[in-house]
Assembly symmetry: C2
Homo-oligomer: 104 residues x 2
DNA sequence: AATTCATATGAATGGAGGTTCATATGCCTA
DNA sequence: TAGGCATATGAACCTCCATTCATATGAATT
């Protein structure tokens, strides 16, 4: 199977709202599961499932400390990828011509 | 809804194998539907559906010339995004430690 | 106007994956 | 070793979407 299959898997792993929020959190600093759960206000099992997906794609690395497990970005360039994709999306042609889009 | 929803939509639009192939083709130069169909050896309707998706995300722009419709990248930085995401994926930690992965 | 070429559209199907619920694992303290 | 805290796992459900098939639109040529 061509490289595009793996690349698509990689991009889709990043391209999920909750996981994007997690990645933006981890771009600040590594965090344990409980901190992520609190910050996103989502179910613990949901966060855990997403962290598993990110880990399987090697986007995130885990470090255990007592009961807690700290997650961090596997590579600093991942936060750049997230940031540049966001700014690029905002600047796309039709977006400019139609005024305000992608409001927060 | 937060910006992450739109960003996820944008990244998932790029993160599909067939669409990635299309984007890499269009990174060379703009092409009409028939050329893309021939290059990818996929059904015409499938390519058309994917071009529609890319266009709705403003990733691609269309230009009509007689019966043919030429598609091109909406922004040159999109090909950079595709390329950097591929090289970044290849370099991720576990990938290095486990030897060859993402073979073509 | 009819036919052909180029592309788009719509419905139907099948599969992948996000979310929730319930439960399991594992580490720590008393 | 019991109990509680932190995280992971599995199944079930449901939605989204990639693909195919059949058909429609539209432009060019005769």
């Amino acid at each position: 199977m061509p490289i595009e299959d793996e690349q698509a898997r990689f991009l889709r792993c990043i391209g999920e709202p909750t996981r994007l929020q997690i990645l933006k959190l981890l771009a600040e600093s590594e965090k344990c599961v409980g901190e992520i759960v609190e910050a996103l206000n989502r179910e613990q099992s949901l966060v855990s499932h997403h962290l598993r997906a990110l880990k399987e794609c090697n986007i995130v690395v885990a470090r255990q400390e007592a009961q807690k497990i700290y997650y961090g970005l596997a590579d600093l360039r991942l936060s750049e990828l997230v940031a540049t994709s966001e700014s690029l999306m905002r600047e796309l042609p039709l977006c400019q011509s139609k005024g305000a889009c992608y409001d927060e």
